[in-house]
Amino acid sequence: MARFEIYVTYRKGIFDPPGATAERALQNLGYAEVEQVKIGKYIQLEVADGTPEARVREMCDRLLANPVIEDYRIETAGEA
């Protein structure tokens, strides 16, 4: 089995309410150095060995991320 790790985040310019809330809360807690918080999704995908990344990309485009609002990054994590 091979494992891919997928990080889904809002595209630049899309307002991220949970991120903005965490940002404000951290600043209120005295972490003045906090400039920005973005909150996204982490997906762990286990697939048959030899599955090409292009195939995983297709899964992201079709279901796991919404290209209208989200970007994603795929990392190969090797053997599951």
Partner: protein
């Protein structure tokens, strides 16, 4: 292969670790005629826990009246069921999820809703409404705000997804709940009478079908062990045992189970709640006087290497247990498959009366099924009147300095309207879907929620309605548990009556501290007696309920909190009434009489920071006549609005009617009592109604036949509330005090300091 029992040396120690007492362990050995196996010991320890066995409360609960011509199912099943006329029946129950919620408020509250909803559709009823009775500490610490916000979000997150409207409830913020919040969830379901289903296994050779989620280690000993011991600093370590809810799976379960019942495919249906498969299966078997033979290797598992006892006691959510005949198996599984649900045969019904658990070929438990469900010891705990009572009851509120100028009294009224225990709850219920199913006639914010009876799915609508309210003022119960419990009942009855509902039956959720402490048990016993007497006086039975003990933190018990969930019936839902003042020139009438009763009042708490005195007196005969009077007046169309007087007294009740109606009022104070008592006394047995001037005579006549005092106290109109010379406030001032409080308190997080966060 023979059953592997524990070593006689080890078993008693393990039993004690699992929460059993030594003599309870001895009783198990007696029943079995041998030392139990590991699986058996776990199963007994959970079934004989307080949460599952009611061993401390069972005797006291016998005081409740449970009979009535309209009672189709009393206590002892998953929910109570009453006949509401025209072939319709309503199933309802309230249950606590206090301890899980104190650890993880979102999931605790969410799974509380999930559990009570399962109890309803298990009976064959479609869940049509839920309500929640909540208690927290005051909102001035981040921890309490976290619990409050989390619980509200969890209730919404679960209920909204199910498409079951959350139509009402109540919340109080008191220091006494700081270490132990209360989350009491109530649900109601509607069915045609003939569809009533019971969780009674029958028919040796029939199959036991497990439907829904896979089984994991989550919640092992969760509800049952958490709810059967006090809270201490170690509670945080128990976090892993809190279950995570999946409302989507539950929505599918509702649809699939109702479809299965509709098609008459099932012999019995039960849900898996506290103590999981053990409790569900043993209760089903013992009710039917049959045995069960279950193979744990057949149970779909989500984790590796689970032990048989773990599978038997897991509290994984969203699972149901059904009994089907072999002929109906395929059709039943097809329905489950259609809804995307797993369904697996895990065992068979036998005629032995024994609950046999095997792991493949190996028997790991074998005991008389009925002994798990019904042979738990019943205790008669010691009782002692708490020492604090004499002191708090001796206090006379009139010894205090009270505001007496118009300015000071007006300011006090606004202060009360802004009190977290009185202010508008819209911040909460706007997070709940309260309209789905299109039957919510009186929305949250009124005295009681009113629902139209009917099944839109089959186009079967009726002219009838039900009104429902959940109530309990724990402060009154702390000051006098007998009277306090009665006030919980009469307030619920008045609330329901104010919408036009005739009180029909109640469920209850009795939240108390450690019953092994004589002073705590005395308050429990007094509360049950008070509630039982109130029910008897009204001819209103208790059809279901739940006891939650061990609500303590660091040895300090919560206020005794016997929450009452009362259901009333409207013969014609069209006739329902609401609280808001309707029209300029209407006469404002007070039904009932104000006495100088400031003990335990919100005024005393807010203005003087005190919780003391005696709570208001209750006259059950007068209360019953008052509710009958109001229901008749609403039914005959005499009154235009009706609102109960509760916390904050007459002044707050009038202000609420003004705010809701967007119109003012001019009222004469009667003048025989000190102004502060006229305004803020919390005397029971009072309802404010408005009538068109031409109907005043008819109302007076009707009141006279009920022996209820009926006094015209003022007129609707203008944009101010003027109460004699005592108070004068504008609508805007009242709204500004009443509406934004909760949101403001919750958002005080903006000033959160880092050291405060550590107390999370």
């Amino acid at each position: 292969m023979t059953l592997e029992t524990l070593s006689p040396e080890l078993a008693p120690t393990l039993a004690v670790e699992l929460g059993l007492k030594l003599d309870e362990y001895e009783k198990i050995v007696d029943i079995l005629g041998r030392v139990p196996s590991l699986t058996e010991l776990y199963m007994y320890s959970l079934m004989w826990s307080e949460h599952c066995s009611y061993k401390h409360s069972r005797k006291a609960l016998r005081m409740f009246p449970t009979q009535g011509d309209h009672v189709l199912q009393g206590p002892g099943e998953n929910a109570g069921v009453i006949d509401v006329g025209d072939g319709w029946a309503v199933a309802f129950k309230m249950e606590s999820h206090n301890h899980p919620s104190a650890i993880e408020p979102y999931q605790g509250a969410a799974t509380g809703v999930g559990g009570i909803i399962r109890d309803i559709f298990t009976m064959g009823a479609r869940p049509v409404a839920s309500l929640d009775s909540l208690r927290f500490g005051t909102l001035d610490t981040p921890r309490q705000r976290y619990l409050f916000e989390g619980a509200v979000a969890g209730i919404g997150g679960y209920g909204n997804c199910l498409g079951v409207p959350t139509v009402g409830g109540e919340v109080y913020f008191e220091e006494a709940y700081e270490g132990n919040c209360l989350i009491n969830a109530m649900a109601l379901g509607l069915m045609r009478k003939e569809n009533l289903t019971r969780a009674v296994a029958a028919g040796p050779g029939n199959l036991v079908l497990l439907i829904g989620s896979t089984t994991g280690r989550d919640g092992i000993g969760g509800a049952s062990t958490l709810a059967s011991q006090e809270f201490d600093e170690k509670a945080e370590d128990k976090r892993p045992s809190v279950q995570v809810g999946d409302p989507f799976e539950e929505k599918l379960l509702i649809e699939a189970c109702l479809e299965l019942l509709d098609a008459k495919l099932l012999v019995a249906l039960g849900d898996l709640g506290a103590a999981g498969l053990t409790s569900s299966a043993s209760e089903m078997a013992s009710r039917g006087g049959v045995g069960l033979d279950i193979d744990v290797t057949k149970v779909p598992q989500r984790e590796d290497a689970m032990m048989p006892f773990e599978i038997m006691v897991s509290e994984s959510q969203e699972r149901m247990l059904a009994v089907v005949t072999p002929e109906n198996l395929a059709a039943s599984q097809a329905v489950c498959k259609k809804w995307g649900l797993l369904s697996t045969v895990i065992g068979t019904v036998t005629d032995t009366g024994r609950f046999v658990v095997r792991e493949g070929e190996t028997v790991v438990a074998d005991m008389p099924a009925a002994t798990l469900a019904h042979d738990a010891p019943v205790y008669d705990p010691a009782m002692e009147r708490p020492a604090y009572l004499a002191e708090v009851q001796a206090f006379d509120p009139m010894t205090l300095e009270h505001p007496h100028t118009r300015e000071a009294l007006s300011a006090t009224l606004l202060e009360l309207l802004a009190s977290p225990n009185i202010c508008s709850r819209h911040w909460i219920w706007e997070q709940y879907d309260h309209q789905v199913m299109l039957n919510t006639v009186v929305l949250p914010g009124g005295d009681a929620a009113v629902l139209r009876i009917g099944d839109t799915g089959r186009g079967e609508m009726s002219e009838r309605g039900i009104a429902v309210s959940a109530d309990c003022n724990g402060r009154y119960c702390y000051l006098d548990p007998y009277t306090g419990a009665q006030i919980a009942f009469v307030e619920a009855a008045r609330n329901v009556a104010c919408t036009g509902g005739r009180p029909a039956a109640i469920t209850d959720c009795l939240n108390f501290g450690n019953p092994e402490k004589p002073e705590v048990f005395w308050t429990f016993h007094q509360s049950v007696k008070g509630l039982a007497d109130a029910c008897t006086a009204f001819g209103v039975p208790v059809v279901s309920g739940n006891v939650s003990f061990y609500n303590e933190s660091f040895g300090q018990a919560i206020y005794p909190t016997p929450t009452v969930g009362l259901v009333g019936v409207l013969d014609y839902v069209d006739d329902h009434c609401t609280m808001e003042f309707k029209a300029e020139g209407d006469a404002i009438v007070l039904l009932g009489r104000t006495r100088n009763e400031l003990g335990g009042s919100e005024y005393l708490k807010v203005h003087h920071g005190m919780v003391a005195g005696r709570p208001p007196k209750v006259d059950l005969v007068d209360e019953r006549l008052l509710t009958e009077l109001v229901v008749t007046a609403i039914r005959t169309g005499i009154v235009r609005s009706a609102h109960d007087c509760a916390e904050g007294g007459l002044a707050v009740a009038l202000a609420e009617c003004c705010i809701a109606g967007g119109i003012g009022a001019t009222v004469d104070a009667e003048g025989t009592l000190p102004a502060v008592a006229e305004l803020f006394s919390e005397s029971q047995g009072r309802i404010v109604v408005t009538v068109a001037p031409e109907h005043l005579g008819a109302l007076k006549q009707l009141a006279a036949t009920h022996g209820t005092p009926c006094t015209r106290i003022g007129t609707v109109g203008g944009d101010r509330l003027r109460i004699g010379t005592a108070a004068d406030v504008s609508l805007t001032e009242m709204r500004d005090a009443y509406l934004p409080t909760l949101e403001r308190l919750v958002h005080s997080d903006e000033t959160l300091q880092s050291e405060e966060l550590t107390d999370r």
